[in-house]
């Protein structure tokens, strides 16, 4: 006899229902299965209408994020055996509008990612000509931002953030961490142009340091720390502006 397990999955099909429902599926329990395996099993063997995102199955692509028993997790990294024999409740990541079943709309996050200017910016006239080669960086300089560069854009941190759920104008954890990733890069000179967004009310100041973004991050990016450090440096900027107005550059 095969052991089985129940998955209670959030269903939303906009063409036939205006309010989401939950549907329970019985799947075989296997020691080596992750939640994503069980959902794939449902899709292949039980109900082909179930919609969800996934790709790499190895915690790299960042597309399989779901609420698993209320906690945002990569479904390819959450083992069934950690929940067995209890029922598992699966929902799309919170804080985002739902398009269909477990698929949520990520446009807002995509916009924010581009707004934060996540690339190396050089000041006017300071771009090195190509034939002079690359900008060199020491391992120590790399260490300053490396952690923030590990982000896989899985959006689990947004789903963990109550501030974002309440008010989606908040730039949010991953985007700010990515901004800091470039701000702290020794080759970058773009902090001033990112600062306008980061130091705005919607940037960092709505953050109340709940800290759950860092707790759920599968890549130890620690976006909460990135935001607090941005608060410190923005505060230093602010006092410099107020106390020594003549010291203002540009």
């Amino acid at each position: 006899m095969v052991e089985t397990m129940k998955l209670e999955i959030f269903r939303y099909r906009p063409e036939k229902e205006s309010v989401p429902t939950f549907q329970t599926y019985k799947v075989p329990f296997r020691e080596d299965w992750v939640v994503l395996d069980a959902i794939n099993h449902i899709k292949d063997e039980i109900d082909g209408t179930l919609s969800y995102r996934w790709s790499c199955q190895m915690g790299v692509c960042g597309s399989c994020g779901m609420m698993i028993n209320n906690v945002p997790k990569l479904s390819c990294a959450a083992f069934l055996k950690d929940y067995y024999p209890d029922k598992i409740r699966i929902e799309p990541l919170t804080g985002f509008p739902v398009e269909r079943d477990l698929i949520f709309e990520m446009d807002d996050f995509m916009t924010k990612l581009t707004e934060i200017q996540p690339y190396i910016i050089r000041k006017e006239g300071e771009e090195k000509p190509l034939d002079e080669g690359e900008y060199l960086q020491s391992p120590a300089e790399l260490a300053h931002f490396k952690q923030y560069s590990m982000c896989i854009n899985c959006m689990l941190c947004y789903a963990a953030c109550p501030v974002y759920a309440i008010d989606s104008t908040f730039i949010g954890p991953a985007a700010i961490a990515l901004g800091q990733r470039y701000n702290m890069d020794s080759r970058d000179q773009g902090r001033d142009s990112r600062q306008e967004l980061i130091a705005s009310h919607e940037g960092i100041w709505e953050c109340t340091f709940v800290g759950e973004c860092s707790a759920v991050c599968p890549k130890d990016v620690d976006p909460a720390a990135a935001i607090q450090r941005a608060k410190v440096s923005s505060t230093v900027d602010w006092f410099k502006d107020v106390l020594i107005p003549w010291g203002k550059k540009k």
Binding site: P162, E196, A199, S200, H201, T208
Partner: protein, 116 residues
């Protein structure tokens, strides 16, 4: 995007949080346990001694800071707590009441210290 004035509130919040974290536990132990239970000798908080101490400008200033900064710590935290539990729509009013409360508290304590 408008330049935010949050840094001023956040600095006061942080400074107040640090003062409260460092000093309040021991002060509470003194006024809540050691003194009422008479565990520390012969009434160290007697009127003359404390009044003379608090009359010194430096002590006044330190005490004033210890009272005022944590009020701003409260104001900032409590403001966001109220917003977080669903009062976002009146967030401006909340800010005015919270920071206003801390400012009033600061003024009152300034007056009290002035009159000693």
């Amino acid at each position: 995007m408008a330049k935010s004035n949050e840094p001023i509130w956040w600095s006061l919040f942080s400074a107040g949080g640090m003062v409260a974290a460092m000093m309040f536990p021991i002060l509470i132990i003194i006024t809540g346990i050691l003194v009422p239970f008479g565990l520390v000798g012969d009434d160290p908080l007697n009127f003359e001694r404390i009044r003379d101490a608090v009359s010194q400008p430096l002590v006044k200033l330190i005490l004033f800071t210890i009272i005022s900064l944590p009020l701003f710590h409260w104001a900032h935290r409590f403001r966001f707590t109220l917003v977080d539990v669903g009062l976002k729509s009146v967030s401006t009013l909340i800010s005015i009441l919270c920071y206003g409360g801390a400012i009033v508290g600061t003024i009152v304590s300034a007056v009290v210290f002035w009159t000693i």
